[in-house]
């Protein structure tokens, strides 16, 4: 296992690098709730809980599977010439050598690295949920997440982050997951949106965001957590982490400006949802590039991505697929953009970086790097789209994937979770409103039965 140094080996713990990776892992975990609110604020109030749950359940399911076999398949020894990984002592993560071992020479314990990478495995399927908002059966989605993690994410993560071919053979550059995370999730979102079909009333009924402050809250938590995602991907607290932190920051700033400018020119007004979306577009695009471009290069990448994504979110109307929250427009377009732009802006900051440091077209590197980047992006996109389409179609055939039209109209929160997101009414909260008068009589007995059961 190239990077995994077991207890035996003579690497010493580096408490500083470990402190940063522990922090980064926690930061990246927070991104998924952040995403949940970013998405949740954009749906209608009758389906916000389901959207939150689609994201939250990713943490629960992926977390358990990752410990059992996920980490091993993604970061274990290479098999089939870098198509998949796997090492027996990594299953269950309880092996003493693993508990005492370190990831790479940076002196970070294997478990810390495993948890950091887990958070990537969690948010990737979570990103997909935006494409199928308001209409997906909860347990069907849960099953999808487990299957997709195993069949799509683990191999791709192995190619890009682990012992697989993209990182080690093709030698393409993806510092924090522009391909494995965003291109991957974006392509999967496209496939699922097509498989599941449009929402009832799409393009006829208004489906505007029910809580825009939540959209910005989510975007803010995403931004905050993304520092762990990008700067943490260095695996150490050093100058490269500082560079990644810097490029991540300015690219995101530029992404906001790029998106708002397009809105100003096209729609006449800069919007809050646009600012939040532009930030995410910038973050997505800089993710693969954050340690390979200069701060000024990052500004360019952010501006381009922000503007491109702002234009791309309209594509679904032209092609007629209901990618409800623009997973394609933001993550697929943004992820591919960032991955490919490394081929132009890749520069040499003068430090060793895993995978060596190649120059892009604008820095005299010619087309060499650009080609690799395109190959990496396209391979991941196709692999993800095709397999997701297959899995999705299978689940839909089984009838466990899409809710009934009634459920959709009356609200998926009520249908799938037996809950209402908000009860603000003073009357309601007065505690005696008709809204639940039945409960007046009913609550206690029903409750008693329920809980005696």
């Amino acid at each position: 296992m190239s990077h995994l140094l077991l207890a035996a080996d003579s690497v010493k713990l580096d408490s500083g690098n470990t402190a940063w990776m522990l922090t980064s892992a926690a930061l990246v975990l927070l991104m998924t709730p952040g995403l949940a609110f970013f998405y949740g604020g954009m749906v209608r109030s009758k389906s916000v809980l389901n959207m939150l749950m689609m994201n939250f359940i990713c943490i629960a399911v992926v977390g358990v599977l990752w410990v059992i076999y996920g980490f091993s398949l993604a970061f274990g020894n290479p098999h089939l010439g870098g198509l998949i990984g796997g090492s027996h002592q990594l299953f269950g993560l309880g092996n003493p050598d693993v508990l005492g071992g370190f990831w790479s020479s940076a002196g970070v314990p294997i478990l810390v690295f495993a948890m950091f990478q887990l958070m990537f495995a969690i948010i990737t399927p979570a990103l997909i949920s935006g494409a199928v908002a308001d209409r997906t059966k909860f347990w069907g989605w849960t099953l999808f997440v487990a299957l997709w993690l195993t069949v799509v994410y683990l191999p791709v993560a192995n190619w890009v982050f682990g012992t697989g071919w993209i990182l080690n053979k093709l030698n393409a550059e993806d510092f924090a997951g522009g391909t494995a995370v965003h291109t991957n999730a974006g392509a999967a979102g496209l496939a699922l949106a097509i498989v599941l079909g449009k929402r009832v009333g799409w393009r006829k009924d208004p489906m505007k965001p029910h809580n825009v402050p939540f959209v910005l809250l989510g975007a803010s938590l995403l931004w905050f957590g993304w520092y762990g995602f990008n700067a943490g991907s260095e695996g150490a607290a050093d100058n490269i982490a500082g560079l990644a932190f810097t490029t991540t920051t300015v690219a995101t700033c530029a992404g906001v400006l790029g998106w708002l400018l397009v809105e100003q020119l096209r729609d006449g007004k800069p919007t809050t949802v646009g600012a939040a979306s532009g930030a995410v577009a910038g973050l997505v695009a800089i993710t693969p590039a954050c340690a390979f471009v200069s701060p000024l290069g990052a500004i360019a990448i952010g501006l381009i991505a922000g503007a491109l994504c702002a234009m791309a979110v309209g594509l679904k109307y032209r092609f007629g697929f209901d990618d409800s929250l623009d997973v394609v427009g933001v993550h697929l377009v943004g992820g591919v953009t960032g991955t490919v732009l490394i081929g132009f802006f890749g520069f040499d900051h003068g430090y060793a970086t895993p995978g060596g440091l190649q120059r892009g077209l604008f820095y005299g590197g010619g087309l060499d790097l650009l080609e690799k980047q395109v190959v990496a992006a396209v391979s991941v996109m196709l692999y993800s789209f095709i397999l997701t389409f297959v899995i999705g179609t299978a689940l839909k055939r089984l009838g466990v994937f899409r809710v009934s039209e009634e459920a959709e109209v009356s609200g998926i929160d009520e249908a799938e979770h037996a809950e209402t997101a908000y009860s603000f009414s003073t009357v309601l909260s007065g505690g005696l409103s008709g809204q639940a008068s039945g409960a007046g009589a009913g609550a206690s007995p029903t409750t008693r039965e329920k809980v005696d059961a």
Binding site: G434, A436, S437, A443
Partner: protein
């Protein structure tokens, strides 16, 4: 003058508005209400405790019309709001003594 009031299913509001525009009705007033009747509500569960919600969201529409328009309007609303399923709601007409348009002070027929 007459006041035609309708309590209908929320998602039928657009159809009703369209039907009224056909009749040349210029304006109306809408409010959110909750209905209790044959149509059943739903159940919610929080930490194992069940809540029966027996009120159903409805939309109330008030339209002020000329006496002779009243029947037309009623029929148009009934037609547009019907789904045939329980819970379609009610439409009723009440008499109005006087009507004034605030902006102009115009009265009755001119005020609609």
């Amino acid at each position: 003058m007459k006041l035609v009031t309708a309590v209908i299913k929320p998602f039928k509001l657009d159809d009703v508005k369209a039907a009224l525009e056909v009749l040349g009705i210029q304006g109306l007033t809408v409010s959110e209400v909750q209905g209790f009747g044959r149509q059943r509500g739903h159940t919610e569960v929080y930490r194992g405790a069940e809540y029966t919600v027996d009120l159903v969201p409805k939309v109330r529409i008030d339209v002020l019309v000329d006496d002779f328009d009243a029947d037309k309007v009623v029929d148009a609303v009934v037609e547009a709001a019907r789904t045939g399923k329980i819970g379609d709601g009610k439409v009723w007409v009440t008499g109005v003594d006087t009507l004034v348009r605030v902006r102009t002070g115009e009265r009755d027929a001119d005020a609609v």
